[in-house]
Point group: C2
Chain length 453, copies 2
């Protein structure tokens, strides 16, 4: 990586050694991050709420634990950012929706409670696309999150603040949420790793839903290991599984079944992202993987997005029904239109959508059965400018992971000709494998040039 400050360069996984070696303390780490937030975030637009006193207090407590050799976990003392749809006690809980901007969370969401129990320092809440319903993070109530690689360009979404904060070194790692791609898309746009776990692995309790049938909480990090460690802490209840995930598996253990790469004929994908996928496949073959092209004929990518958007709209509208009636102007016109596209269909259409999406999932799972994983683009293109606006096909490749409920990790694969990060996804049958593939195949892009210092 390439942050000049070794504390920032350490990411999440590197902090453990620094703490254990007493090279730095969690308080120094907190202060380093907070100083970057104070200096850089005004222009970047990641954080929407902080309780710095509470964070500093948590850092002090962590320092005390490290000092007496009683760290709670491998993420004890690590400064973590949390997406604004996840409840953090004492901070606003609004999912980027104006109507909820003054609501304060009384309790931590279960996933936040897990992180605190592991000793994490919660830095604050980060920006997102309103209601998670989009991939631009140009929020009408909380402002734009810029792409650290190029201001004026989107960090993607809906977890745009989470990914940008990781990319720019404004947190060690971050929680996001992913309904049709909302962790992986912004991770791809900002050159970081984004992991959508197996459905249900991380609790979605007290996460304002976009779609309670498709929502997943996921992790953003500057390495696959960082994503894995945060995931392991976030699903703490499943301790054994967590240790599996956090312990990097040797590459050889992955090379025991053929891997698939998606055939892109006729699919939306620009040349740069095609080249990134080809580079990942070439690297996989060099490492000893057998890679076969598959078409997933029974899975209609376009239709899956359409059905996912209908379901998300209906569930979002059902979730927000009371507030929509009470304060419709607390939702932007765009967000209301997006919800209405699903929510105002007939009930029979929605019933058919659930049924048909389940059918597509079954087809996809059957077609993937012979493979240990699938490589496919994260998005059809690299980050778009705010001026150009969101690509209509942005969730074309990510929706698959939500529909089948399998883990998928977006990983960086170099830069485009205009210095924007490219990204590839690895989808697999278990979290350890998708993270392991990301670890083995990624071509990290380092820190965004203007954020290295």
């Amino acid at each position: 990586m390439s942050f000049t400050n070794p504390i920032i360069e350490a990411g999440l996984s590197g902090l453990t050694d620094l703490f254990a070696d007493r090279a730095v303390t969690p308080v120094e780490v907190f202060k380093s991050y907070q100083s970057r937030i104070d200096g850089l975030d005004g222009a970047l637009g990641c954080y929407v709420a902080q309780d710095t006193a509470a964070a500093e207090q948590a850092a002090h407590e962590s320092a005390e634990r490290w000092a007496r050799g009683a760290a709670l976990s491998m993420i004890d003392g690590a400064p973590i950012a949390v997406k604004a749809n996840i409840a953090v006690a004492g901070l606003p809980w609004h999912a980027g929706i104006g109507a909820f901007r003054d609501r304060i969370a009384e309790d931590d969401a279960p996933v936040v409670a897990q992180l605190r129990a592991a000793g994490a320092v919660i830095l604050g809440l980060v920006n997102m696309h309103e209601g998670a319903f989009g991939a631009l993070t140009d929020n009408p109530w909380f402002g734009r999150t810029q792409n650290p690689w190029k201001h004026g360009y989107s960090a993607g979404g809906s977890s745009g603040g989470s990914a940008a904060a990781v990319s720019a070194g404004l947190c060690a790692a971050a929680l996001g949420s992913d309904t049709l791609g909302s962790v992986r898309i912004p991770s791809g746009f900002t050159g970081v790793f984004g992991h959508k776990p197996t459905q249900g692995l991380i609790s979605t309790g007290d996460v304002i839903p976009m779609s309670w049938t498709l929502d997943h909480v996921g992790t953003h990090g500057r390495s696959a290991d960082d994503c894995a460690r945060l995931l392991a802490a976030a699903c703490g209840a499943e301790a054994e599984l967590a240790s599996e995930i956090a312990r990097p598996s040797p590459l050889e253990s992955l090379i025991d079944a053929p891997m698939a790469v998606l055939r892109l004929d006729g699919f939306p994908c620009d040349d740069a992202q095609k080249a990134a996928l080809a580079a990942a496949v070439a690297k996989a073959r060099r490492l000893g993987f057998e890679v076969e092209e598959v078409a997933l004929d029974g899975y209609d990518f376009q239709e899956a997005v359409r059905l996912g958007v209908i379901i998300s709209g209906a569930e979002s509208m059902a979730d927000h029904a009371a507030m929509l009636a009470q304060n419709p102007d607390g939702f932007s016109a765009e967000f209301r239109r997006n919800m209405a596209f699903g929510g105002e269909q007939t009930a029979a259409v929605l019933a058919g959508a659930y049924r048909d999406l389940a059918g597509l999932a079954e087809s996809a799972r059957a077609a993937l059965g012979a493979y240990q994983g699938l490589l496919l683009p994260t998005t059809p293109c690299a980050a778009y400018s705010f001026e150009a606006g969101q690509s209509p096909d942005v969730a074309f490749y990510t929706t698959l992971g939500n529909v089948v409920g399998l883990p998928a990790t977006a990983f960086p694969m170099g830069l485009s000709g205009d210095e924007l990060p490219l990204s590839v996804q690895a989808l697999a049958w278990d979290d350890e494998t998708s993270l392991g593939l990301a670890r083995a195949l990624a071509e990290p892009v380092g820190a965004p040039p203007n954020y290295r210092g």
Copy 2:
């Protein structure tokens, strides 16, 4: 029981001994039942399709197996009726819907294939409320099924033909389906046992759905053992479980945790059904059970029915969408209205209905956690006349079983003052227990007077 013909009196479970003792052969059994169908069903209106040649052939094959001591199961040679929404190869497959009356099933539904593999003789298809969407079985396309206890009265529904055929001795046992009570309601109205198994225990493959999220295939029999044996054969894939279910458990094994009885304050229930429930509770106490009254406060019975009807309407309409567009007049106006009540709500309302019904289920399961079972009425009243029409509250007590997915067995509890069967339900955490409670507590009512000879 009280059929004068010992073959009919044997029900399903009694046939095994008759066959093993060579007292009768499956061919004689088939002919006895077919002769009753020929003589009695014109007025009763159970069967809507038969292939008597195929049934007789199956009976011959079974006879040959019994003769050489190679019976396939405890139901080998038993004549079984199948509800008209379940596919039987070569017979019409229409769910009582006019639009599908000329469609012939190419293959057996998985549940029918299981029964054939166990040696059952499929007698034919029996009548049902159109599309399973009601509890009257006054079918505009296939006619009325009379209640064997009193013609002019409904056999209930939607599996009215299944229950009436069992009650009148026109089959040894029958398959029905139950979305909001469609096995248990007609079983209660006709004085037989009706078992809705644990959700998923019997395949609903190739069963025309009323609601694919709430549908269950269930069994009707003249005893709890008959229901249990047919269930065991119908879920043949789970062989171990099947043998658990088919082996009557000793009463003592059930008396190890308190049982609950539903408090009826303010609920729709006439005096006769209240007395039937009280009699079941008194019998349970005499047998040594501790029985506590519970209110299930977190579960709103009325709201659960309303949500279940919305979901069923939406899923029925989605399932029939193509045929509704092509041949709307092949659906009665009443059935279209019932579907539209759910199907033409907004998608947001349906999404909320799924969510809210899941919430009610969670409440009910939590409230029942301390008990090994719950006794409650099957219906608020005994059978109604066709003239009076379906009671609006008919599914008030049965919907609970579908919502929580737990097994529930309706069992007869004597006769009302006007000689109509009364019925109580036992709901439990496993099929063996709900069937065992039904076995222990029932007050069988014998055969309907006009069908004994």
